[in-house]
């Protein structure tokens, strides 16, 4: 079979991670090297850039700046919160027709979508459309999410780095809290991202691995929040140790499945407070235990913390990007997401594989029961064994004048061909 060279398009989707650009680098660098690929493009702002026919031409970039892409946080080509459904009866087929009009106009034969479970649904929709219409397009999804909630992969690139940030942040903050607790603040509460899965909040427990105090309480969305159990534990910690450090998932729910942070807590204008569970908890602790509380909400800092990225995560993110290109070009695969399979935890040995996008799309992997010590409001040793390899090593940094240096791309926009 003679395969004609085609162009490759890479795009980023959903919330960013500290290493999504490492995957971008792996994919782009491999694509620029392989003779089966002619031109390499990246869509501006994910699938939105395809719909708008806004494609950056990466062959025009300075190779030195391409080498800086894996040092850069955020989504270097822009991301989006646009979803295209693959379900029958959904009205997204017009968008798909438009996407393929753009693909044809720019001779795209390879499409890589770097995102989470919503993005994999978009990738699957594109793949399904191509199949149904007999079009020559390979589609591979590159996993990415700090939430770590994709099925079938040992972990999602981005999680290791956000976990390393979270564990280090609570380690440092707990040292601070301990110093002050004799005459001042007794409780510190850190709010963690992670949506409906407790992976990221759980990672805070890794702070204890070298024998230091980490969070005494971890509140996970998998366990209905009990104010009584929470206060009992915090009070006990203060009584025995003098302080209590808490990590809380942003999406804590009560017994009825309602979010805690919207359960009756409104601001003075009557608006329901969404998220910001940390302040609901701060209020509870301050009022019920009458102690001084400090609260941290890192928000974007947690998923953009390239300066403390995990080396293991960073390297896997690069490889996930490159392997996704290999699957398409060498193995002629399509409609798959690249996954990481764990062979052994200690030492951490893993290999890359692929699973059909349809098995990933729209599904959420929450923290399994064996990783949760519900009574202790904490995680188990099983979780520690799972997560420790993912934060190992420190990804290289690139500082100038004390501040990180990032890729300075030209962002050469490819000429529009559709009028």
């Amino acid at each position: 079979v003679i395969v004609l060279p085609k162009n490759l398009l890479y795009a980023q989707s959903g919330g960013v991670t500290p290493v999504i650009n490492a995957s971008a680098y792996g994919a782009i660098r491999a694509a620029l090297t392989l003779p089966q690929i002619k031109e390499v493009y990246a869509a501006k702002n994910g699938i939105q850039g395809v719909l708008d026919e806004e494609l950056y031409h990466l062959n025009a970039e300075n190779p030195n700046e391409i080498e800086k892409i894996p040092y850069t946080p955020g989504g270097i080509f822009g991301s989006c919160r646009v979803k295209i459904s693959s379900r029958e009866g959904d009205p997204d087929w017009e968008k798909l027709e438009r996407i393929f009009e753009v693909f044809r106009a720019h001779d795209i034969g390879y499409f890589l979508y770097n995102g989470g479970n919503d993005s994999m649904e978009t990738a699957h929709a594109i793949s399904a459309y191509a199949k149904e219409n007999g079009l020559d397009l390979r589609v591979i999804g590159i996993p990415k999410t700090v939430d770590n909630d994709l099925l079938y992969t040992d972990y999602c690139p981005g999680y290791g780095s956000a976990a390393k940030f979270t564990a280090t942040a609570i380690l440092e903050a707990t040292k601070d809290l301990k110093s002050m607790s004799a005459s001042s603040t007794k409780v510190f509460i850190l709010e963690s991202m992670g949506r409906h899965a407790g992976w990221l909040a759980a990672s805070s427990a890794l702070s204890r691995v070298n024998g230091e105090a980490g969070p005494s309480v971890i509140l996970l969305p998998e366990i209905p929040f009990s104010e009584e159990a929470f206060l009992t534990r915090v009070e006990e910690e203060i009584r025995t140790k003098g302080f209590c450090s808490v990590v809380a998932s942003e999406a804590l729910k009560d017994d009825n499945g309602d979010f805690i942070s919207t359960a009756g807590y409104t601001d003075s204008f009557g608006n329901v407070q969404l998220g910001k569970i940390c302040f609901t908890l701060e209020k509870i602790v301050r009022e019920k235990l009458n102690v001084k509380v400090h609260t941290g909400l890192p928000d974007y800092l947690q998923r953009s913390s390239r300066h403390i990225a995990s080396l293991a995560d960073w390297q896997d993110a690069i490889e996930a990007g490159a392997r996704s290109v290999f699957w398409m070009v060498h193995d002629r695969l399509s409609d798959m997401m690249t996954v990481i399979i764990r062979d052994m935890s200690t030492p951490y040995i893993r290999h890359f594989d692929f699973v059909p996008l349809s098995k990933i799309a729209g599904k959420t992997r929450t923290l399994p029961a064996e990783y949760i010590d519900a009574e202790a409001l904490n995680v188990t040793e099983g979780f520690m064994e799972y997560a420790l390899p993912l934060i190992k090593g420190e990804a290289p940094d690139n500082y100038h004048l004390g501040i990180p240096v990032y890729a300075n791309l030209k962002y050469v926009m490819e000429k529009k061909r559709i009028h």
Copy 2:
């Protein structure tokens, strides 16, 4: 003059910094080396440990662990929020009598207090009491505060590292914001510590030094907050760039000098919200501009971020500790605080000196007018020239299994001698 060897006592006070333990290390290591000093102690929880006669005996520590002290965040001996006044008529003389009872019992001839302006008042009170009673005690203050608000010193150790954290955090978060802004969040607001001085919020501007986007708006406590000017600027940034990154000082005030975050904003229980200016601003932006806003409140993370400490700051913190010992032992000085004097900004050349504690105690240095571009809601080039040397270089780290390793002290408590 024959000077008999005496014991040295070191103590930490007030909010911690990422490098307060670097100063502890400098002081302790110098004291352990000099023959004029017999035993070296650290008070548990600052001056409170003196009042309680709780002194750690540092000669008993493993030298390998002492070498890890400057790698450790928080206050390694514990800090406190206890203040002893030096003003006439204040009832703290009883406490001072108690302090000297403990000093005599343990043959303390040298006392180092590592803190901010409140702590320097305590140190001055102790020094004044000694002088008034003809007691042989040398007292030196070692500056420390992320707020950078002490007079007479070029900067306060701790500020450089918190500034480096702040600039890196807003740099990374702004990259995140930019990636998402086309279809989602348009504004990110980061709340900064710094109390009544804008030094730390201002440091966020350093994020721009390598040509990247940093905060478009910096709200300083030195400038009365104008909602109109703020919203006009944010709207203009969104219109021209598509997004707007904001850094806000925790203690913003209105034209009348009232705190913004307590100006009419209460929670559903009717409690006035103190601090958390970021949520007041988020609410204003969301309601008036109708855009999606993300908000970060690093809190303790900002002043405990040892993992991204500035090398310049870390080295100066060590030297400030050691020099403070030299002033007492070699120069027989007392009632002074060690300060840093800038000889030149580029290259940064500085030397150490000392000023009377009475000139520091209880006073606040705010951001000078020439560092503030009030119209642009930002800082001037003069500020950039001032602050850049302070974040230069990356302090060494010590990781094991992906997590920082800290000093593991024995904390051998000296036997109490007062019954």
